[in-house]
Amino acid sequence: MKRLLILFLLVALPVRAELRVFACEPEWASLVKELGGDMVSAYSATHALQDPHRIEARPSLIAKARNAQLVVCTGADLEAGWLPPVLRESGNAAVQPGRSGYFEAAQQVVRLEVPTRLDRAEGDVHAAGNPHIQLDPRNLLAVAGPLSKRLGELDAANAAHYAARQQAFADRLQLAIARWEREAAQLRGMRVVAQHRSFSYLFNWLGLIEAGTLEPKPGIEPGSTHLAQLLGQVKAKQARLIVRTPFDSPRPGEWLAERSGIPLVTLPFTVGGSERAHDLFGLFDDTMAQLRKAVP
């Protein structure tokens, strides 16, 4: 009976030519779109207003993973709280870790902040290092190559198409990186306070210096004691900016901004995080604009 039902569904379902990609975060959906164009359909499991650490393994995600041909995620334990049950429950063999339908972006780049001490007393530390790799565009270049190759393997008929698009994307991005670096030259050496270690790769790329985090430890809510301590430090450390993601609670940042007089800026963090950040290029254009506006 069930077999018959499956056969029926297989026949009855509309044949979709595009490669179906399930991206864990919007930046990877966007990258897949850049690399695949019309040949892929990219679904993003999360959006820019969601904290990718804290997602529910919702039924809708299982249904999407069930039909995906490729799963593209950050990895480095970022999705450890929700992706494993989603993939397991999906019954989709092709996208299980270890299969060609599973791709982790963080494996392609050199990760920052790899802890030397794995202890939860240090908060919710990721053994594989900081997973928020997307805010260094050079990481996107490093991911784009292998990802394009993977698209070509899964959809061999269009491999040349993917390779060509990857080349074009890399050229565009390299030009843009040179431009962004010129724009951000004046920011080099600036001290910045972040809510969570969400911007480490951005800071590293642009030569900004982290002057503290609003969270006392990764994944631990900012408390009043820690904030009071930080208030004393930020002045001594000459911090000039506080940055937050669109999904972080604005309260701790506002508290510190009000008392220290240091401006608080919401950076888009990922594609969709602001109106201008509608794609990967917009993401960095807007990030640069926000930073430069805050520090004239």
Binding site: I6, G75, L78, G91, A93
Partner: protein, 460 residues
Amino acid sequence: MQRIALLAVVASLALPAAAADEDLKALRAEIAQMKQTYEQRIAALERRLVDTEAARDKNQPQQDDGTRGGTAGGFNPDVSLILQGQYRRMKDVPERSITGYWPAGGHSHGGDERGLTLDHSELVVSANIDPYFRGMLNVALKDGEAEVEEAYFQTLGLGRGFTLKGGRFLSGIGYINEQHPHAWDFADAPLMSKALFGEHYGQDGLQLKWVAPTDLFMEFGAELGRGAGFPGTDGNRNSAGTSALFAHVGDDVGRSHAWRAGLSWLSTRAKDREAHFEDTDAAGPNEVEGLFTGRSRTLVADFVWKWAPNGNPKERNFKFQTELFRRTEGGDLACVTDAATSPCLGGVALGDLRSRQTGGYAQAVWQFMPQWSVGYRFDWLNSGSKRYDPATVFAALDPANAYFTGYRPKRHTLMADWSQSEFSRLRLQFARDKSMQGVTDNQVALQYIMSLGAHGAHKF
């Protein structure tokens, strides 16, 4: 380089002071020699730098093609340990049961002990076995006993939406049944779970699940099991003692809402299922064994709705969950004892027993700010209708036995919990428990749940 430049400057400044060409020549030779030495040393240093960088690249975690799972680099297998304990304040009732219901007996994770108690500690070990299977073990540790809660393998490579599970696992019927106590939103199980299964229904057997290839989440499952757990009994037979079917449907509504609804059916057989009864012995009541042999069928409907602003549950979220059941049983009642004056002496058949019982629970949990949430749960049961021949049954068993009493057990529960991180939780709970006729038990529980080790990702 800098030092050479410095020397050169010093040398050039010193030049006018130099008296003779001889001195100048000597100085030049000396500088040339120093320059050479420095250049050699710089070259050596540069070589060392290149070597070090190469070595560092080698030490980098191997950059693979990205198919490897994140946890693969971590500890294999994933091990987590959950520590749980409670302080409970409740009435001293010697043999707690739910009026109108056949006592589920079986196992429960305490909940009946008063005062400071250590609940069982859960040890969970899981890992991918190979590219095709995943294995998981969940052991509940208590004094002098280690109970295997779950020990199963699960396929990863069946594909086409199919997953096969084998071993001992918590049955997929209903919603809360698959959750371990540490994942509950309250310090104890709903009355419904206690009445139906003792606490939860575990299968020793096989489960086949299929997820439909549609955008709407649809999942269908079937289970075959040994059926040793309440409401069944261990049948000592070659065939399966129990079978279950379930279907789940779920989706999102906008960015902030998600829901899942399900319908499940469980059928199992009982042979000489025991419960304590009092007989009608004229010389004074004896405690005798009531025995039920027959079929038990349970239908469960469940619905869960979660709200999180923009799909971001970290700050605030709300969860509503409800389950309803109908259980029908049909078979024969008997009683047995070896008390000499009892009408049940040596085992007496008491004829047909048919029952239909209903009930459920509804609960809402609201996380109103990070770390803090409050919840309310309402439990209701109905002892339902029972058909038997009173003349035969009450000739042997006292009609005052709780099982024969028509009653509607109820319980109200309020809780508040505080989680400083994802891994620790403290909970305070008040309950007004009227699950036993004539007893209103106002209960207080203070509970801790601490998770060590691997991230325990929970299902929806």
